[in-house]
């Protein structure tokens, strides 16, 4: 168990939520999730993630969630790749002349910043891991007092998934915004070629800082 210090009710609650989410993924095509704009990810990837999550949930609910985050990011990136191939091979349909989709000129900067942030966060974890206590704080209440604990390995896994999940998504989306802007256009209903990389970078900054703060707190460097 990665969550040995959490109350039983919380773990059970997580288990039930995971069960519902994984079953929803398994029947995503029957529910026609894409129609309701809930996801643009290919159903076949959603199902694979759903199966893995469903099974892992019985081993450890947190492990199932970590798997879900990694799985969803990977499947989203694979879906973007498919869109790219399709758009390149099909080209413009006959008579379908339209406007040119401009590249996002700050996309490259965001891409570089995102990669640097990920590298810094990972380095911090590698350097700090040997000094982490066995019982680590992972959550604070509104009064800023710790109210959730995990073991060292669980903490490291959670940290890794957070950093890699947001980091790879930001890196890929910002890369697409200047290299293959049409891919982003095809997958989003709003014209978010500029918006999406910026929002993701902000999310990554907040996420990485939160993770590094937790790391510092557990090392006794922050109060």
């Amino acid at each position: 168990m990665l969550l040995p210090y959490w109350p039983r009710e919380v773990v059970t609650f997580l288990f039930v939520i995971n069960l519902i989410v994984s079953v929803l993924m398994l029947i995503s095509d029957k529910l026609n999730l894409n129609k309701y704009k809930l996801t643009k990810t290919n159903y076949k990837y959603l199902k694979i993630v759903g199966i893995g999550m469903f099974l892992l949930n019985f081993v450890d609910p947190l492990l199932a969630d970590l798997f879900m985050f990694i799985g969803l990011t990977t499947s989203f990136i694979l879906t973007l790749k498919e869109v790219e191939v399709e758009g390149k091979v099909e080209g413009v349909m006959k008579g379908g002349e339209g406007e040119v989709i401009e590249e996002f000129k700050y996309g490259k900067t965001i891409f570089i910043l995102s990669v640097i942030l990920t590298v810094i966060s990972l380095t911090a974890l590698i350097l700090a891991y040997p000094y982490l206590p066995e019982r680590t704080v992972v959550h604070f209440g509104l009064d800023m007092r710790p109210n959730g604990w995990m073991n060292k390995l669980g903490f490291a896994l959670m940290y890794l998934v957070n950093v890699l999940f947001v980091g790879s998504l930001t890196a890929f989306v910002s890369w697409a915004s200047f290299e293959e802007p049409g891919v982003l256009y095809s997958t989003s209903k709003i014209n978010s070629i500029k918006l999406l990389p910026i929002v993701l970078l902000i999310t990554q900054v907040i996420d990485d800082i939160a993770m590094m703060y937790l790391l510092a707190y557990n090392l006794g460097l922050a109060t």
Binding site: V89, K94, G98, G182, S186
Partner: protein
């Protein structure tokens, strides 16, 4: 391994460059149609286009077509040059096959 398939694989560069030049610009879809009888996989066309683009032989632009984006290609100067060279190679092969020449580049 299918020797026929292997033979055509190398010619896609020439064929795609030629088709883009013939159309002037914008083709992807027509390109796929034109090559249909050779039955290339999507990834073959994709890889060829990608390599040509990376090498600077063609220039791609994403175009809005309704809710989707499609890529439109144009030959660059470098691409025109490559096309001429590849056509020369193809001519060499043809003349060899028809018994009118040897398989070597003329040193003129």
């Amino acid at each position: 391994m299918d020797p026929r398939k292997e033979f055509w694989k190398g010619t896609y560069y020439l064929l795609i460059l030629k088709l883009i030049k013939e159309g002037g610009s914008s083709y992807g879809y027509e390109l796929k149609k034109a090559l249909e009888h050779l039955n290339p996989s999507e990834s073959t066309i994709y890889d060829t286009l990608k390599k040509l683009e990376k090498g600077g032989y063609i220039k791609g632009e994403w175009i809005r077509v309704g809710k989707r984006a499609r890529k439109r290609y144009e030959l660059t100067e470098k691409g025109e040059e490559l096309l001429r060279e590849l056509e020369e190679e193809a001519r060499l092969l043809c003349s060899f096959l028809t018994g009118q020449g040897k398989l070597s580049h003329s040193s003129s």
